[in-house]
């Protein structure tokens, strides 16, 4: 499977069910990166001692444990966001598992393994953050950040008065707009491929 598609699909899988606020994007991206970093280090640490099927079981158990651990840590700082996101806070572990399943290359040192995996994680995070920022601006007319007492938002448009923005803020609106953007992206990419091929033919 195309690695890029898996990367973006798992980012969307993580972000679509979440309310379209940038604040939640920051929290989930942070969780994803921490789980990813801890997961990579853990795989490196246990691979000498545990092999075969047992290794996947141990890795999955660790990722779930790590998610619960980070959820508990978040309760200390943002309890209402933990209440709101609920099981969605366990989704980063799933995304990490999918990405590491695609990206299981042998690496000799921990540093090499981290730099290799964190490159994917960086692309994933950037895509997810831009996606959530656009959703926040288009749907809620604001840019929001996680705060001790809920979320802190810089509101520049009262989106509740604009039906189209309300539609974009809803989950069906998000799915439809994301699909339209994906179709447009594929269409533009195809056009560029055609132009590129035509250029090569001319040279010949």
């Amino acid at each position: 499977m195309n690695k890029k598609i898996v990367l973006y699909a798992s980012a969307l899988m993580l972000m679509i069910p979440v309310p379209g606020r940038f604040a939640y994007g920051i929290i989930l991206t942070l969780l994803f990166n921490l789980v990813f970093l801890a997961g990579t280090s853990f795989v490196f640490a246990v691979r000498k001692y545990i092999t075969g099927t047992m290794q996947s079981v141990v890795i999955m158990t660790f990722l779930i444990g790590m998610s619960v651990f980070l959820k508990d840590i978040l309760i200390f700082i943002f309890p209402v966001i933990v209440l709101q996101l609920g099981v969605l806070l366990y989704f980063p572990a799933l995304s990490v598992f999918i990405l590491t399943a695609v990206n299981r290359k042998g690496s000799s040192t921990l540093q090499e393994a981290i730099s290799m995996n964190m490159k994917d994680s960086g692309c994933f995070s950037l895509f997810a953050l831009i996606y959530m920022l656009l959703r926040d601006i288009a749907g809620y007319g604001s840019i929001s950040f996680p705060g001790f007492n809920g979320i802190l938002a810089v509101q520049f448009i009262n989106s509740a008065k604009i039906p189209f923005m309300c539609f974009l803020a809803s989950l069906p609106g998000t799915i439809i707009s994301s699909t339209v953007m994906a179709v447009l992206y594929i269409h533009v990419q195809k056009m560029f491929t055609i132009i590129e091929r035509a250029g090569i033919t001319d040279e010949k």
């Binding site: 069910p17 979440v18 309310p19 379209g20 246990v46 001692y49 545990i50 092999t51 047992m54 079981v57 141990v58 158990t61 660790f62 444990g65 619960v68 651990f69 508990d72 840590i73 309760i75 200390f76 943002f78 309890p79 209402v80 966001i81 933990v82 209440l83 709101q84 996101l85 609920g86 969605l88 809620y140 007492n149 809920g150 979320i151 938002a153 509101q155 009262n158 989106s159 509740a160 008065k161 309300c166 803020a169 809803s170 989950l171 069906p172």
Partner: protein, 160 residues
């Protein structure tokens, strides 16, 4: 007799069990310490939503443990009615409900002699909260209005 393959399997299972036990102990301890922050953070939220929609009407007091698995997605508190209208206990509940905008923390008040009343959503502006309320009023909000009294049949007040 243990051959090398069995020894290796036993060693792997041993490491896994030790790891699992260590992780469970750590998580239980962390969950225990996080409980206090969970209660105080959600109490602040219930209080601020009540102040926004019904200013000066209630004071949020004791935490009420719901004694159901929903305790991880809801929290309830005893409310002190400042106007002294009701003689029955009044509760303030913050609960995650699914809306067309994704999961939202909804605040209800529940006077045990009446149906629960929806107050508003935390983490949303008043206009946006009213918009989400308009869409969810006949579906999820109605569902939770019927469900909340059932939760309180096993609830137990925790006085701090």
């Amino acid at each position: 007799m243990l051959n090398d393959a069995n020894k290796k399997t036993l060693k792997e299972y041993g490491i896994f069990m030790a790891f699992l036990c260590g992780m469970l102990i750590l998580l239980m301890l962390l969950t225990f310490f996080a409980q206090k922050f969970w209660v105080s953070g959600l109490r602040r939220q219930v209080s601020s939503v009540l102040e926004l929609y019904e200013p000066g009407a209630y004071t949020v007091t004791d935490y009420v443990s719901l004694k159901t698995p929903l305790d991880s997605s809801a929290a309830s508190f005893v409310l002190k009615n400042k106007n002294g209208k009701s003689k029955n206990p009044v509760y303030g509940i913050i609960i995650r409900i699914m809306t067309v905008y994704g999961p939202m923390p909804a605040v209800f008040t529940y006077d045990t002699s009446q149906e629960p009343e929806f107050i508003g959503f935390a983490c949303l502006t008043q206009d946006m909260s009213d918009r989400v309320k308009g869409i969810s009023l006949n579906s999820t909000i109605q569902y939770w209005k019927k469900r909340i009294p059932l939760l309180f049949t096993v609830a137990e007040a925790v006085h701090e």
